[in-house]
Each structure stands twice: as C-alpha cells, then as structure tokens.
C-alpha cells in the first residue's frame, strides 16, 4: 500500500518533471523556435480564413452554397454558431491540433534515453513518474497553446462585435474541452512510441506508418472480416470525423479518446518498466 507520504513525494516528482517540460518549450532556444513557428502558422490562419469568416459566412451566395456543402459533410450545425470566427477556428483546430500534438510530443523520453540523461533521472524518479510527468507536461503545453489560439480568436470576434463576449466565451470553453480530449490519445500514442523507440525522427516515421499503413491494413482486413472494423478504435482520432459536425454527439465520442489514452499510457508503462536505460 502506498502511504500518503509516498504519494506526496510521487506528486512532487511528477510536478518537477512537468515544470521541466514547460521550461523546455518556453525557455529554450529550440522550444521558442517551435513556439514561434506555431504562432506564425496560427497568425496566418487567424488573419486570413478566420478573420474573413464573417464576410464569407454572411454572404448570401456563400450561405446557400455552404448550407448544401456543409449539409453533405454534416457540418451545417456550425453555420448556426453565433460567433462565425469560432466555426472556422473549430474546423481548422480539430484536425491541426492533433497533428501538432504528434509533432510537439514526439520526443518525450527517447532522446533522453539515447543520451543517457534518463539514467540520471531514473535514480530520482520512478519510470512511471517519468512517463506521466512527461506526458502531463506535453498535455499542459498543448492545452496552453489551444487556450492561446482560442483567446486570439475570441478577441477577434469581440473586436468585431462586443456583444459576442458571452457566447464567444462559453463556446470557447466548450471548444477547449473538445480539443483537449481530442489531442490526449495522440500525446499518449507518442508516449507509447517513446517507451521503446530511440529518436524523435524514428517516432515521427513510425507514427506516419502507423496511421497510413494501419488504416490500409484495417480496411483490407475489414473487407475479409467485417468485425475487423473494431480495429479502427486503435487509431487515435477515429471519432474526429463525427465530432467535427457537432451534431448528435454521444458519450462514446468522449469515451473513445479517453479509453485510447488510458490504453496507450498503460502500454507505455509496461514497455518503460521493461526497457533498458
């Protein structure tokens, strides 16, 4: 049984690991370059498509076309959102943040393992603490970036029409929750790959193969055995196409990513415990 003191010490160590991750991104040269690249990309997204969202959406011609097109794609609900900036933000963010999460969290433990730095850390923190500390650090980083982009979108909407403050705030909080849950399994998948791969580059390649070849393999298997369709639940983001339209969302849309996250972290924990440092 773990005593309260042990738990407290464990939380302290996990918190120290989280802080180190936050500093790695926001206070190191390489980390700041990554943030700068991220900020530039989002500046372009916010300045062009999102800023023009109102004029695009309010044009009658576009409305008709969008209604037809979005209706086919199951996105017509988005046209009813009072803050059009957030509609477009959501369409871009729901697919770009998981990709960004994969890139940003592709090096959680592998470089430290290859360099031997993990040997210094593992004499002071358990492998599970290292795994969860690094994972939670990445989650906090991605969450902070989601919040910043949401805040920027909100400011743009309020700048246009101050009366949108309340709907923009409530919708932003809702979207934060949605995006937060959506990125979790991607970060957990990276934690899993990091538990046995030796470099961030290799992790990125394996991730591409995992999603690319994995989908093809499941599709072929599905053709032979229909029950193999359940294998799709192995792939993080399997629920994204259903979530993006924001229509008829059930509990399963939250349970799938949360279960995937737990499963990948459990696998990562097993691999971390067995791996040589």
């Amino acid at each position: 049984m773990l005593s309260a003191q042990h738990l407290q010490s464990s939380f302290w160590r996990i918190w120290a690991l989280i802080k180190f991750e936050l500093i790695r991104l926001f206070f190191t040269k390489r980390g700041m370059l990554a943030v700068l690249a991220f900020a530039t990309a989002w500046f372009i997204i916010l300045y062009y498509p999102v800023n023009s969202a109102v004029s695009i959406v309010s044009s009658e011609n576009f409305k008709d076309m969008a209604k037809q097109m979005f209706g086919v794609l199951g996105l017509s609900e988005l046209l009813n959102w009072p803050v059009s900036e957030l509609s477009l933000y959501w369409l871009i963010a729901i697919y770009s943040f998981p990709i960004f999460a994969v890139i940003a969290s592709s090096d959680q433990t592998c470089a430290d393992r290859t360099r031997g730095t993990l040997r210094f850390i593992s004499l002071r923190a358990s492998r599970n603490e290292i795994l969860f500390g690094r994972f939670l650090g990445q989650v906090m980083i991605i969450s902070a970036l989601i919040l910043v982009t949401l805040l920027a979108t909100m400011i743009m909407a309020i700048w246009r029409d101050a009366s949108l403050f309340v709907p923009a705030l409530t919708k932003s909080l809702y979207l934060f929750k949605e995006l937060f849950i959506a990125v979790l399994p991607f970060i957990a998948l990276m934690a899993f790959f990091n538990s046995f791969l030796k470099s961030a580059k290799l992790t990125a390649v394996i991730t591409m193969l995992f999603f690319g070849l994995g989908s093809i393999f499941i599709a072929i298997l599905e053709y032979q055995i229909p029950a193999a369709t359940h294998l799709n639940y192995v792939l993080p983001g399997v629920q994204l196409d259903d979530v993006v339209g924001q229509q008829g969302l059930g509990l399963s849309h939250y349970i799938i990513p949360l279960v995937q996250t737990s499963a990948y972290l459990a696998l990562a924990s097993i691999f971390m415990k067995r791996s040589a440092l």
Partner: protein, 305 residues
C-alpha cells in the same frame, strides 16, 4: 534499529544476466556494507557495467536477487540514497548545468533554495563552481565528466557508484576526484569501477574482480594478508638481483612480476633484522637505485599473479 544498521547496503544473491545467448553475469553473489570504497575491476566485457546497471535499476537481472538497503533497485525508497555516474551518460545539452542539477535536487525532494545550494556545493566539490551557468556543450570532456560526478553527490547519498570516474581526466583532476572520494568516504560508500588499479589500491579496501561474468575474487585488502610479501620496483634492470635477494634467509621466493618489478615472498624470523631494512641495506651496499617499496602485493599482483 540494530537490524537496519546490520543490513548490508547492497546484497546480491546469485544473479545471472543473459544478453541473447551471452552470459554477461554468471551466478554473482556478494555483499557490500557501509564503509571504505569498494573496487569493481575486471577486463573489458567482464560484466562490470552490466552489474552497475543492475544495481542502479537500469536493466533487470535474468535471475537472482538484488537488494539495495533492503529494497529493489530503482524503487522509490532508494531515490536520493543511491547515486551513480553511469558510463557515457550525458546531461541535456539544452539546459544550463545549474538548471539540471537543481532539477535533480528537486526530484530528490529539495525545495528551490536547497536544490540551488546543492548544485553550487557539488560543483564546488569537483572544482567547477565557475561553470554553474554554462551549458554542457561549452565544457571539455573532462569538465563534463566532473559535472556528472557532481550530480552523483547531490544530497549526500549513502551509496555512490562511479563507473570509470577518472577515465579521460587529466592527472591533476583525476587526483582531485580521488581525494574527493577519500574525503567523503566516511559518510558515503563508494563503489568504483576503473582500469587504473593503482587508483583503486589507494582508495579501496574491498575488491570485486569480475572475469567473463563470473565473480573471481571478493577480497579485502588488509595489511594482515600482505605481511608475507614485499613488492619492490627498481630504477634499473639488475641481472644478479634475484640471486642476491634469495641469499637473504627470510626470503623464500623472488618473482619478476613485470619489468623491474619484483614480488618478494618472505617468512619473517623473529631474531633477524626486519626484512625491509635488510633489502634496503642490500640495495645500498650494491649501489642499486630503487623506485618504490610496497608492503605486500600490489592489487595488480593480487589479481593477476
């Protein structure tokens, strides 16, 4: 309390480690108690680093038991009590030395102020206080090694394992590290792996000698065991040296262990002049220059002759 005090710091029972078909450690058992530094020696590939890695919890043994102060290697109870300088491990090049040492201190449970103090204290111990705010990339190989020794001293751990601590250091700094180990060994039990046997001889009282994964020797370097030997290093090669030495009644055997070095076996006799005096007298009478006289066998001769 007394049972805790009597408990060995490290207890290894019949451990085996296989890498594929290679038997890296073969049924190794030993105990290490609190005290003077312990030497871990053996040729390349003997299993020293494998044993270090198992003791630190970096890898798991295939079979057998290892206990560090009564706990499994890598368990939370050993955090802060066991530290190591693992071979070839490097600090993160993106962070300053101070930042990383403070981070290690915080992981050991120290608050920000105390971990900063520990970073400064340990760097001072290895003579590198001035590099506190440097990044590892700005340091030489030897300096980086001393910094990693500093990380092993954070929080004054009970056990410190140093794998090839002085390899790659210049003689002055190697000596500084030896002096550091000697000065801290009253509080900390060091386990040193090195190929420099004279270094280990100076520091250690207990020797673990590994060869092909088997623990060949587990001995204590005490004076008592050495009373029947004298090691003599001469300045020049002297053809009739062995013959003349053997003429002294107390000397039973003279072995030329290596170039200009002799291992002299003696059988002390109470009424005679002390043997070392007799040997020195012989050297003086013949005008032979000697370099060094050692009471007993050198560690090298204990292990290899």
């Amino acid at each position: 309390m007394s049972s805790l005090q009597k408990q060995p710091l490290i207890k290894v029972s019949n451990i085996n480690k296989m890498f594929g078909s290679k038997h890296a450690l073969n049924n190794v058992s030993f105990e290490i108690n609190k005290g003077a530094p312990v030497a871990l020696v053996g040729p390349n590939g003997a299993g020293k680093t494998t044993l270090f890695s198992i003791l630190c919890g970096y890898i798991q043994q295939t079979s057998g038991d290892v206990s560090i102060m009564g706990h499994k290697p890598g368990s939370a109870a050993t955090f802060g009590s066991l530290a190591a300088l693992p071979q070839d491990a490097q600090l993160d090049p993106r962070f300053s030395i101070a930042h990383q040492l403070k981070f290690y201190g915080q992981l050991q449970g120290f608050n920000s102020k105390k971990s900063k103090y520990e970073a400064e204290r340990t760097l001072d111990l290895v003579g590198l206080k001035e590099v506190l705010n440097e990044k590892p990339g700005a340091l030489s190989h030897g300096m980086r090694k001393r910094v990693t020794i500093a990380q092993a001293l954070i929080g004054e751990p009970k056990i410190v394992m140093l794998d090839e601590a002085t390899a790659g250091l210049d003689p002055l700094h190697a000596r500084q590290i030896r002096e550091l180990v000697a000065s801290l060994s009253s509080e900390t039990t060091f386990i040193l792996s090195s190929h420099d046997l004279s270094e280990l001889e100076r520091l250690c009282e207990q020797v673990l000698y590994l060869e092909n994964g088997v623990l060949r020797e587990h001995q204590t370097l005490t004076n008592e065991a050495d009373l029947s030997y004298i090691t003599l290093r001469m300045a020049n090669a002297i053809p009739e040296f062995e013959q003349k030495l053997k003429a002294i009644s107390q000397i039973t055997q003279v072995t030329n262990t290596q170039d200009k070095e002799y291992l002299i076996s003696i059988e002390p006799q109470e009424n005679d002049l002390p043997i070392d005096i007799q040997i020195l007298q012989l050297c003086h009478d013949n005008n032979w220059q000697y370099k060094q006289m050692i009471n007993g066998k050198t560690l090298e001769n204990q292990l290899f002759s």
